[in-house]
Amino acid sequence: MMAMMRQQQYVLRTVEERAVRLIRLWFTDVNGQLKSFAITPAELETAFAEGMHFDGSSINGFSRVQESDVLARPDASTFELLPFGPEAEHSARMFCDIETVEGTPFAGDPRYVLKRNLARARQLGFTFMVAPEMEFFYFAEGDPTKPLKPLDSGSYFDLTLADVASDLRRRTIGMLEAMSIPVEYSFHEDSPSQHEIDLRYTDALEMADTVMTFRLLVREIALERGVYATFMPKPLAGVQGSGMHTHMSLFQGDTNVFHDAETGGLAEPARQFIAGLLFHAREICAVTNQLVNSYKRLAPGSEAPPYVTWAHNNRSALIRVPVTKKDKPSSTRIEYRAPDPACNPYLAFSVILAAGLRGITEGYELPEEAVANLFELTPAQRAKAGIVPLPVNLSEALDEMERSELVHDALGDHIFEWFLRNKRAEFAEYRAQVTPYELSRYLPSW
């Protein structure tokens, strides 16, 4: 309580000292879209003391039958000056927790869902550390009625003077650092105008906030230069889509419990965590890959992992165990390669953690590592090896999710039910479309 008061004091004072004019209060809807409203410094004290009332019925996934008013309570520890935008140096942001008017956590708030899952991990003594690799595309414009124009035709690690995008990326990284988001690596990915920025690990709650900030920042800075940035998983047919490969480990205090000090490899909890993720991978897929378009990225033939497997350094596997230096136990980790950057990070980290923890608490056994290149196996060989595919489309993923007691439990009734309803509608809408592909394929012959 004292700590919270001091944090609020810090925010109030900084707003005054730095002449901040607007404070943006951020929260996330169930779909993973960032929502924001602005208050003035004069309202800030009230916002801390009482929260800000707003009508939740206009927010995706927030509406409830009985009443729609909810409270946004700014989390002072997330206060950060915004280094971009028209009023540079004069606006700041804080993430909010959403509460009901009775003052209890609101079940439709994705940030609360993640907090609840992290609290469960903490009961087992674990903190959950994550580091996502964020991929995205820059296009000349974002008009969906026109063909997409990449900014360049550069490829992996390409470096040319004409690379407008690398200038954009540099500026973005500068802004990220200014907003307490250190970057591990950044490079040009192998598709035209595709880029990757790898974030350095933090605990999962901070990282989910960071992913929200990251997506906004990348898009804002692109817009400043008249460029359109997108996290859509597969904007161009025939080239790699954008993933959000997520590196993760569990810590107990200072100790990485994924690291086996004797062998230098994976400790038992890591093996069980992987087993849990593999076992529940199909159930959590609708959350980690929530768009109709997500499943185009996962189609076989690209680098995205369509099969439920794990391996050391086999990039076609769903879970990869990167090679780490022997004297760096803190970097022992696993990489989950299914998620895409259009996910809701709060919900995605929640279900990933729940699946992994289930593996630990139930003592799941790790299946054998996939050694062959999975794409070269015939379906019969895959079946024999017990390799199952991820869902092929959103509809199948939703069927899997609906049957999953694990996902239901991790998300809670409110979000579980709303998510299924909303996404079923999304798929139905998609299914009702007659696409240009179908016309060109069938019209001439039938």
């Binding site: 001091r6 004072r13 307490s180 205090g253 200072d254």
Partner: protein
Amino acid sequence: MEPLLVYPFPVAADLSQALERAGYRYIGVTDEVDAERKEPDDGWGGAIIMADRSPEEAYKLAVALRKRDYPLEPLLMVLRSEQLNTLELNRDLFDDFVVSPLNHRELEVRLKHQYWRLGRGTRPELVEYGDLVLNLETYQAAIARRPLDLTYMEYELLKFLAQHPGKVFTREALLNRVWGYEYYGGARTVDVHVRRLRAKLGEEYANLIQTVRSVGYRFGQSRWSG
């Protein structure tokens, strides 16, 4: 700056006047137990012990404060002039002394001198180390006059480190003393924040916070590795 420990309690009127005039915050204590109970989260900013009235208890307290893992400093003694001949024996118990009755100006200058000696700056509301300045009243930080945009925890961590230059802290110790409450991130949070602070300090100053291999972190130069 954190408040000064002042002995005895209630605080003598001339001392409280002198401290208030100089802008120092202080808390009066009755003995060692009381000193521990009233100690601020970030530790004492220093101590002024009046040994002119009950010297025995005063020395006892000074001994306790100096025997800590991190001896409390600066520690100023207030003495009667006839006590000066006992000074030699107790030299390591304090950093400086003032003779009562107090001269306000003298006390202020001696305190300032001690803070300067410890590299802690001379204005009580500022924490200074080289080009780094933290203002404890306005919660603002600047490096080489460039304001730093810090989150609350980044500010608190930097403040704590800058107030204890040269000392090595483990991650757990930093988590306990700076965060002081249960936090989702666990001990690795400290690494995350150090990394951010270094990024915000900029390349030139990033090494103000040094990693001490397999132990933790140290701010600035160690007194020994100078």
